[in-house]
Assembly symmetry: C2
Homo-oligomer: 349 residues x 2
């Protein structure tokens, strides 16, 4: 519907820029859109960007289109008290870029819809957009369209991300084979542990806080693995490694064994949990919001994978083995079954 | 983020189908997604649909990608008391398809995100999806992905639509030339008049009600005009013809004159307003939600345009002339300026 599409070429110089005293209602829908549009850098692939009924983009010959969408609601996915608008803007795009990364794709274009209360300070949306567009720029993504509307109940954000990749480089969830290694990038459980500290009103070390508020999509390493043909299946870890590897296993028609002792934990995670009788591995297994990449790969490629990740500046760790029979088991250091407290995140529980 | 992506191949037969007693919470996120996925018809252009981190689609060689997104919020864009879930599902997609139509595009793929309260009856989402997927099927659109999440404040819907078209057939807002005719499809003001009756608690004739609840995107005629090279600029009419033609005028660097006497009004509109001292033309000019197509065209093409529209089974009407100088004027039957009560819809007023 044209209503919510953006007005190109509207004069920006008429917009008052001392934004602290202004709300989105004072600026108005089209003023707000112009304000955003003025900050979007052009890209050669974008034939018609913000400002018409639909954006027009030119794809790369031979590549397939990759598309994903996420919705973030205030007090469900984020709290304004915890998430400053700048990092919220970054995260809103980062979690979607993570989906393109998980396919081995090259992120290209984004659409952003924001529903906001009329009395939302203009500073909020300015800072939000600064974060969103910085994350876009870092990942070579161009904002090509979106929607703005009034909300009667908090801020709602919807992001659609589009990427591209050649057909033979796309990595799906469905390619895991028995005896493949199970790998994960970075460290697990930091965001979940940090969130628990935050919810308990305890002080949260910056290293954990940044994992909650400002996750980094693992585009570079995922793309490098995909382009080298090293990953047989891949997913991004947002619900916890146990549940997300479980998706790979289910769709691939295999199972897997994850080894507790091999889960990569950050120094901060270890130091924050050092006083506990046992490492709270459920944060690393089922905590969620890691935004790491979990992938499977033939065991003959171990050396290449470590080398590939090293070039990308991120550690990858083998955490288990794909098995022939369905089901994901998690083994303690002594070989006994680990009993998880939760099975991952379900939005409706 | 993988969390909200859909699980392919999950067993549907385990889902209880007597839905009246169930809520979305009882079914759970993944059960809900499986339930939706099972109803989506496959399409040859969709290499990987619902069920991975991102959808994979194959575009038509030589065509550009057209993309648009819309967000619909309960009690802002719709009321559950007025919109039954089936027609809400249809409308959620129809208003987005209208944007692709307005570019002369061929609608192809859609992503749908729905945030919903945990206690929402499963029947609601079943009926919503039936409407959404029927509208998709009628317009040859395939649902390829989306997001589901829990809401604490009503239903929120976000739809991203993608279409395609060859570069030389895409019709933008920017191509209107002085002396072009201004045309519009169908009739104007029906939805706005119907909405006013609804808000006043008066009975609303079915013909008006269907224009509010169940708009038809004008894909066929818009595509035919685009493919015949007859339209110089095009937009869909969602904020009222005055505001939406105003967008064409502004971006094209022209102006225009709209003639009140020539605005196409339905018989129902006329009969419902027959008792009034004057036809309430502000509904037709600025009411919004018409979802007709407004386009400009060279005057030498009048015959071809009427013929093209006739083949598509929809009337088109000349309602004014593009002028060299900026600004849109609306003239009464006697040539005097019409004074509009409102200037179109602004979400933040």
């Amino acid at each position: 519907m044209a209503r919510c599409q953006q007005i190109k070429n509207q004069r920006i110089d008429s917009i008052v820029t001392t934004s602290t005293q202004y709300t989105v209602a004072a600026l108005g829908e089209f003023g707000l859109i112009s304000r955003i549009t003025a900050r979007v850098a052009p890209h050669e692939s974008v034939i018609t960007g913000i400002g018409d009924d639909a954006a027009v983009t030119a794809h790369t010959p031979g590549m397939r289109l990759l598309t994903s969408t996420d919705m973030l609601l205030e007090n469900v996915h984020f709290r304004r008290a915890w998430h400053d608008p700048y990092t919220l803007g970054r995260k809103s795009l980062a979690v979607s870029i993570s989906d393109i990364a998980a396919m081995g794709g090259i992120p290209r274009w984004a659409l952003l819809s924001v529903a906001m209360p009329s009395d939302l300070p203009l500073d909020f949306i300015d800072d939000f957009m600064r974060g969103f567009l910085e994350c876009a720029s870092e990942n070579r993504v161009t904002l090509i369209g979106g929607d703005t509307c009034s909300s009667r109940s908090g801020v709602t954000i919807s992001v659609t991300i589009m990427g591209e990749q050649f057909p033979d480089r796309i990595v799906r969830r469905s390619g895991a084979q028995p005896d493949d290694d199970i790998w994960v990038s970075g460290t697990l459980g930091d965001a979940a542990l940090g969130l628990r500290l935050l919810e308990n009103g305890e002080s949260v070390p910056e290293a954990l806080l940044s994992r909650i508020l400002n996750p980094t999509p693992r585009v570079t390493v995922a793309l490098a693995l995909a382009e080298a043909g090293l990953a047989t299946a891949m997913i991004d870890v947002s619900d916890g490694i146990r549940a997300d590897f479980g998706h790979i296993a289910e769709i691939s028609g295999v199972g897997g064994t994850l080894l507790i002792a091999d889960l990569p934990l950050s120094d901060m995670f270890r130091s924050q949990t050092a006083h506990l009788p046992a490492i709270p591995c459920h944060y690393a297994l089922s905590g969620g919001e890691d935004y790491e990449i979990c992938f499977t790969a033939h065991r003959s490629n171990r050396g290449k994978i470590v080398g590939c990740a090293k070039k990308c500046g991120i550690a990858v760790t083998r955490i288990g083995i794909v098995t022939k029979f369905s089901g994901v088991s998690v083994l303690n250091r002594d070989g006994s079954q680990f009993t998880a407290l939760t099975e991952g995140f379900n939005h409706f529980i």
